[in-house]
Symmetry: D2
Subunit: 331 residues, 4 copies
Amino acid sequence: MIIVMKPEASSVEIKEVCSKLETLSFSCHVIHGVNQSVIGVVGTITDELLEQAQLWPKVEKAIRVGKPYKLVSRECQPEGSVVKVGSVSIGKEKVVIAGPCAVETEDQMLKTAEAVKKAGANMLRGGAFKPRTSPYAFQGLKTKGLELLSEAGRAYGLPVVTEVVDPRDVEIVAQYADMLQIGARNMQNFSLLKEVGLTRKPILLKRGLSSTIQEWLMAAEYILAEGNSQVVLCERGIRTFEPWTRNTLDISAIALAKETSHLPVLADPSHASGKRSLVEPLAKAALAAGADGLIIEVHPNPDGALSDGPQSLNFEEFERLMARLNLGEGV
Amino acid sequence: MIIVMKPEASSVEIKEVCSKLETLSFSCHVIHGVNQSVIGVVGTITDELLEQAQLWPKVEKAIRVGKPYKLVSRECQPEGSVVKVGSVSIGKEKVVIAGPCAVETEDQMLKTAEAVKKAGANMLRGGAFKPRTSPYAFQGLKTKGLELLSEAGRAYGLPVVTEVVDPRDVEIVAQYADMLQIGARNMQNFSLLKEVGLTRKPILLKRGLSSTIQEWLMAAEYILAEGNSQVVLCERGIRTFEPWTRNTLDISAIALAKETSHLPVLADPSHASGKRSLVEPLAKAALAAGADGLIIEVHPNPDGALSDGPQSLNFEEFERLMARLNLGEGV
Amino acid sequence: MIIVMKPEASSVEIKEVCSKLETLSFSCHVIHGVNQSVIGVVGTITDELLEQAQLWPKVEKAIRVGKPYKLVSRECQPEGSVVKVGSVSIGKEKVVIAGPCAVETEDQMLKTAEAVKKAGANMLRGGAFKPRTSPYAFQGLKTKGLELLSEAGRAYGLPVVTEVVDPRDVEIVAQYADMLQIGARNMQNFSLLKEVGLTRKPILLKRGLSSTIQEWLMAAEYILAEGNSQVVLCERGIRTFEPWTRNTLDISAIALAKETSHLPVLADPSHASGKRSLVEPLAKAALAAGADGLIIEVHPNPDGALSDGPQSLNFEEFERLMARLNLGEGV
Amino acid sequence: MIIVMKPEASSVEIKEVCSKLETLSFSCHVIHGVNQSVIGVVGTITDELLEQAQLWPKVEKAIRVGKPYKLVSRECQPEGSVVKVGSVSIGKEKVVIAGPCAVETEDQMLKTAEAVKKAGANMLRGGAFKPRTSPYAFQGLKTKGLELLSEAGRAYGLPVVTEVVDPRDVEIVAQYADMLQIGARNMQNFSLLKEVGLTRKPILLKRGLSSTIQEWLMAAEYILAEGNSQVVLCERGIRTFEPWTRNTLDISAIALAKETSHLPVLADPSHASGKRSLVEPLAKAALAAGADGLIIEVHPNPDGALSDGPQSLNFEEFERLMARLNLGEGV
């Protein structure tokens, strides 16, 4: 930690800060600059100490030198993690997860599973518990939805991923799903993060729509700290002032998350944009920037979907997209 | 709902959109503009229909005319709500809730309760379950914290409010607290919203740090839709690009929430800024803009606090602030 | 400047960084931390050096210790500046500047000047050169507008302020106006800042809608650096994700600008919100937060205005507002 | 234009709005909805009318149906524009513009021109007039810089582009440069836009760091409206809350600008990120999303650069990047 003293701090006041820290077993090195002094503090700094130090008399600011995350960092594990979901190895091969936003009917799920399998997808997605902005919107089929998703995945040999929104549902969702998704709105639902950290299921952790990359890594750290290291990150767009897209896909975050962390990183071009016409350019861009794969909304009949129609592709559009992504034997 | 057709839409294509809607029992009125046509659709529009309509052939956009919230709106209830918490009437008198970010010790809580009572506060706050960005930071005393908070409140005749972060904890927190707080990070934790909606406790609903005012009202709507109408809104700053404050207090949101909704609105100048020196100007500004009260962090010894020290006031600072706010007999 | 070395930096590599800096006459103090080392660099650091240092081998980051602004800082001048515009002393008394967004006719200006004078305003505003998002929107009456504004101000003893948007117009605008306004879109138009810095006219410097407080102070620094210290800052809202207001008035920025700088600070509640109903709560809030005054749009007939009608008050509304602001003999 | 009336508007009040509009020669069509009525207004709507209508009694809001830009739209010109700069055809072939942020010396420019030409770049960039946040930072070599840039371009057969920041400099810059750049900070410097619109030089128009895509297109419209249709757009990152990158490259904006407008679109991965390690992933992503080319900072010795070192590539890094971009005969 570096403590920057205010220009008017006297040498006595600087010494008082050092005494306080030395009592706590830190060692201090004072550097007298042209206008103000700084104190280099050596030792393991907690968040609490960092915050408190800002309040001490004549302290201008306290700056953390190290990083607040540990287990998720590249420094902790230099080689990239591979997260296995059934036969799929995320982080090793380029992966495409496809399916509808919400599970609606058996027919919808079986047809979608067949179509996305044929087009080359590796995993099936579908929401059974839907977090919706309005209490009056369709909230998902719940357990019935889990059954339909699981059944469709098994029928076509596709591992399935679905969102869990309540710590009390983790057990039941884990019975049906091969991978659990933490949605953007729950990225800092720490009770839920701890609960999925206690399972041994792979976790797909979406970035919160106004979370910094560091907060996203800290959310992953919660899961790893509970003992579950099977975490895959997913960039899905952040909230900005631009009204023409639902969110702004933060393409740099994909590259930075991979640079900073050993966890695999997927991108969700469907939710990021909220627009069908943008799915293809964003999907290509995400792969070009180094994403380990994509999660894409596909629906047999998007303009009759019960949720998130505007960004869903139909089967033909998805097949064309997969051909253009040209993932080759990679997938 | 207004459907704007693309300029190239033919009259046959416009008719097809109308037929589709008329089959669903809506009535349609087409207006042919200079470059493009619009269709006025009369009937009760669901979120799903609004989304789907955007996807129909030659549709440029679909615009909702009405508002997605009902129970929280001024139109539903023109006079302002008064939420009673013990002897305190939020929405009727100007209210000040004060106390530490986190409950730490019995001594801390009793001293704080005494000091804030003496300075004129109406309610006591203190966190027992703390949502923290880092899994390695202090997470609160949990049930022990609830006991200490409740005891201190009773000792000085102050109703208490504390945050609940997990639907499984709602019952225990409701046993100890007079009012339950939903924190900013959980504003769209819909499981939690529904759970507190099933209690008959007053709820303090903080605005999410990247939530629009409409999303905030929709979160309140979740609670009212479950049958609990005792909801108080709290503006606590939004995330922007400005790095000199932790968040940007959205002062307009206070006035707009009161204009649009009948629910009382408080402001949290401590969390909004993250800076002790800003608490006073922001507190005054919030009251001037029409807030029904304030929630302010007070700690016996802020530079030794286990959480959020930089924005906490000590007893003397709080007493001086209360004198300057000049709430008079209003409190 | 503090240089944080990467954890893997060897002691030879740390020495190389120090040698480089010592050649440039800086003195270096190395502190070896638990995981990584930091170098305290003493001497006057330029922006260029700060940027370059980030690129040197094994450097993780370089952090500036001091502040990049000088002349505008409270440290440079502890007491607040008073900027005189005619008989008005901004920074000493609370000031209200009122008038239409755009100068339209002689009758409009004379009536407005009379009405705002009567209601207690101290200065008259009106745009002759209008920066408009669309090339097809009304761009202002230019020199004719300056004449009408100046005439109306003289008729009622009100100093006048108007925006200048082009360095080539500074001379002509300075002939007619008592104070020159730099608009939000031109806050980083450095050519224009330098040009008005060469005049001896008071300058009203609006904050850019996506500028940090520090960038705003740096823009003021440009003007002071040219020799003109008569600068008044004006907070007018920043761009955020919230769609219900045109901009988000950053109420904290008012307090922070006054804390950090000796320059007076006004607020513009009309532009910040873009909504007539918000002018009063925002005006009160800005004064409560410590603003030295307000700039408010007033128009004889807002729903017939050629520019920015939705946020303008009519005479009766302005008079009522002034009564409620209760500025007393302050004005 | 669609006017949405408030729910409480009476039929008399609705008729009054219609009468007002019919007097102005618009035709009105009223649709009575379940809760409120809307009026479809047919005719050519100005910005002024749209704003005024919002203020009329009992009007809830007024919504524009058409688009505010004309000349830049795909509807105006369905096929993509090709902008010729010397022998380079932007919009037809994939183009790479490379060079230093600031022109510093003859040697620097000649070496850079040679290196980027050899690596496959099509055009040379370099700043002679530098907009800098601080008045104390290097402001560019001005006319001397223009000479050095032009000389280096001619020596290696590379057309040159450089920024112009002041309308008074347009003439001199146009004498030396093959293409004029409008920087992000000047995107809404309308005097400058009009001035470059009067030249017959190709213009590179960077997106403002907090400008919406629509505002960016409107800025281009200013140039086209003056008669200069040789405009190339350039996405360079927007300001968001994320602190790990200087700006957030808005990858969707590239696809949307091409979808909505016929103008070519470049991307600037160097400025967007401010980080050398991100230049390659962002460059690849931008091309994958459909960008017509890139503008990349290259400097012989980035850690000695006078401006923007952290994001500049050295010659070897640039050569490697070009090889990996695999532009083939495309360039």
